[in-house]
Amino acid sequence: MVGFILKLIRSALNHGKVDALGHDVPFEEHKKRVRIVVVDDESSSFPTEGLRADGYAVDWWESINLARLKRIEQGDFDIVILDIQGIVAEGFSSTGDGLGVLRRIKENNPNQIVVAFSGQMYSVNSVPFFKLADDVLKKPVAVIECKELLDRLIKSQISVRAYWQHLTSQLRERGVSESRLRVLESEMVLANRKGKSISLEAFRDTVGTIESLHTTYGWVKRIAGLWQIIG
């Protein structure tokens, strides 16, 4: 309690705002900080190398399992590009395919950006998959289409301000008080000035033991990613 009061006093003295940081980064630099993962069993379907050559940070997984799903849930990626068929390595998808994975991601974190990536547009059964996703890329896809979609998503939805709003909104839903949010903001700004990100332990100390702590901490990690801060 004493420690928290000290933090509260410090936050009152430090007027830094999280969403004021990182605004002056040019788009070409900003897009390089956005972490993208493509989940598709066919490597040639997505122009991974073409996008990397243009500066996008793209990972490729041929399948998804529980461990990889946890990485998504814990904020390792800003954008997930998800195929529907042939990508589920273990039986954790309720539908046995990408739709079940998408539903799990969205149930866990509705603000996680997921792009549906499939050639199954001909099938009415695919409608729920495409409608639940935030956007769509249809196979076969050209690199220019991927760039246009990614740039659109990055400009409209990926910023420190947007992530800070997601984080504070989720914390308020979990009953975290405004004073604790002010302390959290102050600590993040201070850490940013030192070129660091706050740890999970420090995050828990500040906001308390809340439901889905790791998922919510994922937004801190995403903000750190946009600030280009590691650890």
Partner: protein
Amino acid sequence: MADHRIVELVLAGSPYPLVRSDDVVQHGLALEVPEVCLRCSDRRCIAREGAPVEMPVESLCYRGRGYVRFTIEGETTTIVGLLSSEARKKLPRAAKKAAVDEEVVSRGALEWVRRAVSIADSMGRDLQASIRSAGGILHDVQASVSVLIRTAEQLVSAQGGVTEEENFERLSPKTRSLVKAVQVLKGRMAVAPLLSNPEAATFGQRHALPIYKMVDRLVRAFNAADSAGPNQLRLHGASSNKPTGYDSVETVAFVLLDNALKYSHQNHPVEVEVNDVGSGVRVSVTTMSPVVDEFERASIFKQGWRGRNGRAVASAGSGLGLYIAQVVAEANGFRVRFDCGGTEFVSGGVPYSRNSFSFRVG
């Protein structure tokens, strides 16, 4: 899940139920307007809420008549003026006796509805199974086309230029033609899924569409891919507006350009205009192409339809392109318009006129 097109097939091929009103026997499906009987003014037999097929006809008027309404895949059919056994039993004795035949016909109508829905459901399941099988083959084709696209992109990027345009210009003419042909192939593959799943036209987010840039890209792709052919697309106009729509708008432009090249008379270029109109953008594609007879013009966007003169010029064709273009246009909140000029000349026995397809986005 049933398919409304199958419903149309079933309904067209099945005998219509008959309903007797006084001494007049009419087709049940014709009774969708309040003309069953004119004995009451409130027309409660044409209520707005539908009764499920499984339930008996609900009696709604003092003469005991009711209706049944069934919906398959969003298409609703209502049969009015029906009389159930329960309703007939409640009629006054004289009326009850007189309504025996009517009840028999009504039972027949209900049974017909049940059979139609059951058949439509069964055929719909078969259709979906066929689509799934075809989907497996389509998946393999998509995978091959993806490899082609990646190879084409690598060919372009390997030129060492600063921009994509510069890299493309460094390619040999034949390689440029190949790269653009792959783009056109990709565009054709985007059209087919819309036939079995029109809802795909609304997948993704609506966003600002650079219409001029979109059409310019298509024109360049078609021109480079068709370098050996006589027809060329010429792009005119100026546009900076970016109206909101789905990515599927590109499919509308693709179909119209593809269609234009197919039917345009040789040595007559296809004129493509893109201009700002208010806050929107208007695109028109004008060709010197076979005359569409006046009585055919209402059918030009119908599925599977091809005009007499068009068939004479290009024997191969599915008649699906313009149908799909209109489906996608409507999903995006606009329609494609067709204008046909008067005959300007005859070639090979086929009359040609200046024909134009146009649409406005936003």
